[in-house]
């Protein structure tokens, strides 16, 4: 589309706005990029006063290991390839290979496989291949950039971060699955009912959404700790102590997330024309049959978006999980925050940075793959609230 000449911005404004845009992109990305760089260096380099030392890592190069120019070039090319795959090839394959109605599950598998393949490529294939190629390349094969993965090893192997990761995955998967099942039904019901009751439910849900989570946790905690005594008269000796149980946390997070989920899904269902299920009803379907046969096949974009936000809530939560789970079942975020309460050495600090980068990496991939859905989810509530 060509812009009329009178609408084109003057040069000064153009320079100014491009400058601002560059500045914003640097500000947005810098903290994340920087801690990623720090996580690959020895503490001496990571906390060096000279930014060049942090990037190039001379101390790391001396003491541990480094990368040659050739390795860097291949690594960047590979990263670019992976990004392209994730954005173009992967979505097509997922749509092609998953049976209709299972698309959410298909994405989950695809994301998992993609993550594992990336890890294998960078952790073993690339170093293995380049170990052979480097000596043949002369000056290009000399190590110039200090880089070490020892902090990642320390975090994941020695500190048993895998267990925290497993707990996080358990909680997150549970929250997404239950939250979507219940939320879709409620969202559909609310979107198709124009009664006063539906309206009041939405207003109450909005008030619930505003409640700080600590208010609710203050209500759960004493009950959860004593739950086996409270439930004994009803359930006998099988009465569980809810405190420290991942599934109790899943239910809590699902409930906390319900107001947001039903608002978002309601607005998605609002955009699906009501004539569609009315036609099905005329053909003799009940409301549930109409929902299952007509609405379910077309609702996936909205459900994926709502699922993404449920995922974020569960994955990013600190307050609920740190108060309702004990040490053994701890998820990743409280575990990282807990790394600071002890006497920390510089090495511990870099390990915490490595853990922080590890927890951010899946989110990075998530934005990469689902950028469009996230944007549509952010605007869904706004366009027609």
């Amino acid at each position: 589309m060509s812009v009329p000449k009178s609408l084109r911005p003057p040069l000064r404004l153009k320079v100014l706005s491009n400058g601002f845009l560059t500045l914003w992109c640097i500000i947005a990305a810098f903290p994340i990029v920087w801690i990623t760089i720090m996580s690959f260096k020895t503490p001496f380099d990571a906390f060096s006063a000279n930014p060049l030392n942090v990037i190039l890592g001379p101390d790391t190069l001396n003491k541990v290991d480094g990368l040659s120019l050739a390795e860097i070039a291949v690594g960047i090319a590979l990263a670019w390839l992976l990004v392209l795959t994730a954005r173009n090839w992967l979505p097509r394959q997922v749509v092609h290979y998953t049976p209709p109605g299972m698309i959410g599950f298909g994405w989950l598998v695809a994301a998992l496989v993609f993550g594992i393949v990336t890890l294998i490529l960078y952790m073993s294939v690339l170093p293995g291949v380049m170990g052979f190629v480097n000596p043949l390349l002369g000056p290009l094969g000399h190590d110039v950039l200090g880089l070490t993965t020892e902090h990642y090893q320390a975090v994941w192997v020695d500190r048993n971060f895998t267990r925290n990761f497993g707990n996080s995955m358990l909680v997150t998967a549970g929250v997404v699955a239950i939250s979507l099942t219940i939320g879709t039904l409620a969202g559909y019901g609310l979107a198709r009912s124009g009664t006063d009751l539906a309206f009041w439910l939405l207003i109450i849900a909005l008030i619930f959404r505003a409640l700080p989570h600590s208010v609710l946790v203050a209500g759960y905690l004493p009950v959860f700790i004593k739950s086996s005594e409270i439930l004994r008269p009803i359930m006998g000796d099988a009465a569980p102590t809810l405190y420290g149980q991942p599934w109790a946390v899943i239910v809590v997070l699902v409930s906390i997330n319900q107001p947001f989920t039903i608002w978002m899904l309601r607005s998605f269902f609002h955009n699906i024309p009501a004539e569609l299920d009315e036609a099905a009803r005329v053909d003799g379907c009940s409301h549930f049959q109409a929902f299952r046969r007509v609405i379910m096949p077309v609702m996936w974009p909205g459900v994926i978006t709502a699922g993404l936000f449920s995922f974020l809530l569960a994955y990013n939560d600190f307050l609920v999980t740190s108060l309702l789970l004990d040490g053994q079942n701890m998820t990743m975020v409280p575990a990282i925050a807990g790394m600071f309460n002890r006497e920390t050495t510089a090495s511990d600090e870099v390990q915490a940075i490595a853990a922080a980068v590890s927890i951010t990496a899946p989110l990075f991939v998530l934005v990469l793959v689902f950028q469009r859905q996230i944007v549509s989810g952010l605007t869904a509530g706004a366009v027609k609230g």
Binding site: I32, A186, A210, L211, V215, A218, G219
Partner: protein
């Protein structure tokens, strides 16, 4: 849709919200007026220390928790009225301090300190988030098509990052001799310790929050900009409106519902400020209302949790957000009514 079908669809969600949102509020309300404590009994204890000729023995009366047959501590729950609220609010100290215009004392009472920070935080970051978000949206809207996608991708990163981790990332850049502190020291030629006093930490928290939430505002406003009526814009140009006037009189009014929406969401989220306190470990200097409740709920050295005080502070937190929400909610209510009928 019949009422029964509607209930079948909404039922599970409603049930969960009743059990896990409405019911806890009742528990919190009840707990805030009651205290559960172990029952203590007075026991005479004779302690003997070896001494010359005969051991020296002293008897003393100690308080110790009473145990039941299974060896568990017996607890009793008593109604204490407003006692817990008094413990949290410390009204005597507060009013005395207010009468004397003694700001330091007010700031030493944890609840008022947290309330002051939470309110200032909410009200200060709101215009910043809206402003920065709007600016990015307008600039991105004006650039070439090909870089819009990558810019949106980069902008989403601060929004999607785990809040505690995001705060930690900012902290690592600034703490001690962090890389940005070094840069500022080199620029200003003086020693800077950003985590040594309250106000610098607070500024970092504002910066972090704007960095974290501005992308959300940006994406919402950017979507709104796509639907600006081009005819109106053109007629504004024909009428000789300058660039700024077009922004002020055409674009901003068009975006107004979205600005209200972003402000409402931000009000709810900023009032919940909590992760910053954890990420920056700032509890010695800056605390928020959510953090106060969290701190009461965490077990202290003896392993007890101040449930009653936590409930009182939770109730007060809730009253705060309801007061803040009354005006925007009444507005949303009227709008909804308008469209529903």
């Amino acid at each position: 849709m019949r009422f029964k079908t509607f209930l079948a669809f909404v039922g599970p969600s409603l049930f969960l919200m009743l059990i896990f949102i409405a019911a806890p509020l009742v528990t919190v309300f009840w707990n805030s007026f009651h205290i559960t404590q172990p029952v203590y009994e007075r026991v005479e204890v004779e302690t003997c220390t070896p001494g010359f000729l005969a051991p020296t023995c002293t008897t003393s009366v100690v308080q110790q928790p009473q145990l039941d047959d299974e060896g568990k501590v017996i607890t009793e729950t008593t109604f204490v009225g407003l006692e817990s609220y008094r413990n949290v609010l410390e009204p005597d100290r507060f009013f005395r301090a207010v009468e004397n215009w003694d700001w330091n004392t007010v700031n030493n009472i944890r609840f008022w300190k947290a309330l002051r920070f939470t309110l200032v935080f909410t009200l200060l970051t709101m215009p910043m988030v809206v402003g920065v978000g709007l600016l990015i949206a307008i600039v991105v809207n004006g650039t070439v098509q090909s870089i819009k996608g990558p810019v949106i991708f980069i902008s989403l990163l601060p929004f999607i990052i785990t809040p505690v981790i995001g705060a930690l990332a900012i902290r690592w850049l600034f703490i001690g001799d962090g890389i940005l502190t070094q840069a500022m020291e080199g620029w200003l030629q003086r020693d800077i310790a950003l985590f040594a006093q309250g106000w610098t930490i607070e500024i970092l928290m504002y910066v972090y929050r704007v960095w974290h939430v501005a992308p959300f505002a940006f994406v919402v406003f950017y979507a709104g900009l796509q639907t600006v009526n081009q005819d109106t814009l053109e007629s504004a140009i024909i009428d000789g409106a300058s660039r700024f006037q077009r922004l002020r009189y055409v674009i901003i009014p068009h975006l107004m519902p979205l600005i209200v929406f972003v402000m409402l969401i931000h009000l709810m989220d900023a009032y919940r400020v909590f992760e910053e306190v954890i990420g920056f470990s700032s509890q010695a200097h800056v605390i928020s209302l959510q953090w106060l409740t969290y701190d009461f709920l965490m077990p202290d050295e003896a392993g007890t949790r101040a449930i009653s005080r936590a409930s009182a502070s939770a109730m007060l937190t809730m009253v705060g957000i309801i007061v803040l929400l009354v005006i925007p909610l009444r507005r949303a209510w009227r709008d909804q009514r308008g469209t529903a009928k």
